[in-house]
Amino acid sequence: MSFPWANEYKPNNAFTRYLDERLPLPRFVYNAVGAGYPVPRNLNYFWNFGVLAGVALMVQIVTGIVLAMHYAAEGTVAFASVEHIMRDVNAGWFLRYAHANGASMFFIVVYTHIFRGLFYGSYKPPREMVWHLGLVIFLLMMATAFMGYVLPWGQMSFWGAKVITGLFGAIPLVGEPIQTWLLGGFAPDNAALNRFFSLHYLLPFVILGVIILHIWALHIPGSSNPTGVEVKTEQDTVPFHPYYTAKDGVGAALFFLLFASLIFFAPNMLGHPDNYIPANPMSTPAHIVPEWYFWPFYAILRAFTVDFFFIPAKLLGVLAMFASILLLFFLPWLDTSAVRSGHYRPLFRKFFWFGLVPCVIILAWCGGAPAEEPYVIISQLASAYYFAHFLIILPIISRVETPKPLPNSITEAVLAQAPGAKLQPAE
């Protein structure tokens, strides 16, 4: 694990020496996110988002635990208990707005983190396991966020729960019994609300566990970097602390500025007004839409409007929606180019910026719009591109593309950008 030149932890007083021989926890932290972890010296701000995702998770856990002390997971009082938090609990409005917008912040950060991985080829050997564990975290996050949105028991909570559990109802033959079993009834009700609350409390800690594996797997090869060239000498790295803790400080300050702006000045901007109407099984909202972070996947789900012979369109939509995430697990084998970073891949770069990025933005836009024309046709074209990009175009690009020459080392790439700097021979 790590490079031979990594700083070694030296306990500097009697207590830490005593502890180090019995439970070397400080050594563990030192090697994981301290001065004992050598990191490429050329990371840009996109590399802040891993740490920021950890910050976002901690914010969610802390605010969530306090909210759970005041919330009641019972169909007849859940909505009122949320209003109790907003009106009568000390700083309750702050906790709830922080938790609701914290979910959005978590997704903003994680989407940027995934985007970074996609552009810089972080999923390529030897970091496939880091990528796979990251996708597991992403799936757990989606489940957690979905169940959390059900808890206030407003109109979108109820109908969102109905639509999403309805996805399982699309499975042939056993679909409906599975949906009934998942909900504990024929429609979302008290049983569903209670189990969603239980799982919503559990899953963040599962995420925490997988994050530990994610970081562990990362520390075997060490962090990737914008050139995609592996670390060769000690010159190529700096210790995580203080170099990247300082840089992450800047990132965290910006993160909290955006977060605070949302909480204090636009707390309901990213939510849906219908969720301030108590759940009512007798009244269907005009447009059922999930939270913004699910819009691209919701667009793919709804893009299938025509049955494929014996396969109903609804089932196709469900399969495609799950496939759109699961295909990311195969990325290390679909993109066979030996060059990691998109910087040195002229063709990949074009398809990334002019294909994939606008495609996902268009899907998000269509997912938030009502299911009518022209949004349906647009989301069909964008979904078609999404699948084609990963499953057809990317493997072909990897074969036909001639990458640009790579720098010899990370240090050379850094110094190329600093005029007047001298490259000293490696020791």
């Binding site: 009106r87 204090f264 496939a323 024309e373 046709i377 979904s383 699948f387 990963f390 499953l391 057809i392």
Partner: protein
């Protein structure tokens, strides 16, 4: 193997989506979706200049008090306000004695139990009670209102897009249906028990214009003239307060938080530059 499988899956999904898109486009051209009355006549809320708009906006206490008066004298006949307690009116600038009086003189009573017989009864509300609802239950509310339950108003301005302006626009938006509506969409004309209002989602609502004459509520001295527009604006402001009672604390805390974070950001940038000074140019 993986790449061949992926290619086939990609071809299937992308291909079928393109087929669906072509079929959809064909259907769209051959049978364009009919325009609906809502799409043609529905209006977005008017622009309203409220004192609480903007990042530093605050409630106007006198306006909230006038809004409470409009709610009590007009809206409360049908609409509940069940998440608000009388004690909350302290935020409107009333003292303990005044709140006690407001509760005592409230037009509806609080459900209670006769301490001697255990029978259900009602009593005059006290400061710690929630505002009592005008109807004992939904069945009664339905029966009294042509089968349409008047919704609770506590969260109304958060439960609609641009809610404060929406409430104002709805209250001032009652009008005769346009001639085109009868011609093009006769089914969307208001019925015997509904009323045309372009700010309402489906254009016709069960509630008749509740504020329909200037001076319907008599304001105290020094207050603006109680025109329909003024009363609507006041009650919209009051309902914004019932939905967001912590708005002022929130914006105050936000200003402090942003100033603190800007200083924190400055310190972080300084620390970052200091620590990295030698690493940008030297190997």
């Amino acid at each position: 193997m993986i790449r061949i499988g992926a290619f086939l899956v990609g071809l299937f999904f992308a291909g079928w989506l393109l087929v669906s898109a072509v079929m959809g486009a064909f259907a769209f051209v051959s049978e364009p979706p009919a325009k609906t009355a809502e799409k043609t006549f529905h209006l977005y809320p008017k622009e309203v200049d409220f004192s609480f708009n903007g990042p530093l906006g605050k409630y106007d206490r006198a306006q909230l008090q006038r809004g409470l008066q409009v709610y009590r004298e007009v809206c409360s006949a049908c609409h509940s306000l069940k998440y608000v307690s009388f004690r909350d009116f302290a935020a409107l600038g009333y003292d303990e004695g005044q709140i006690k009086t407001i509760a005592q003189e409230w037009p509806a009573e609080t459900p209670s139990v006769n301490p001697d017989t255990g029978e259900a009864t009602t009593r005059k509300p006290i400061a710690t009670d929630k505002i009592p609802s005008p109807y004992p239950n939904d069945v009664a509310a339905r029966a009294a209102n042509n089968n349409a339950i008047p919704p609770d108003l506590s969260l109304m301005t958060k439960a609609r897009h641009d809610g404060s302006a929406y409430v104002y626009s709805l209250l001032t938006g009652y009008q005769n249906p346009p001639a085109d509506l009868a011609k093009k969409f006769p089914d969307s004309m208001p019925g015997k028990t509904t009323h045309y209002n372009p700010y309402f989602a489906n254009l016709n609502l069960a509630m008749a214009a509740p504020l329909n004459t200037d001076g319907q509520v008599t304001y105290g001295e020094g207050a603006p003239k109680p025109t329909v527009s003024q009363m609507s604006k006041d009650v919209a402001a009051f309902l914004t307060w019932t939905a967001e009672p912590k708005l002022e604390q929130r914006k105050r805390a936000g200003t402090a938080a942003v100033i603190f974070l800007l200083i924190f950001l400055g310190l972080c940038i300084g620390a970052y530059k200091n620590i990295w000074a030698d690493k940008k140019t030297v190997a």
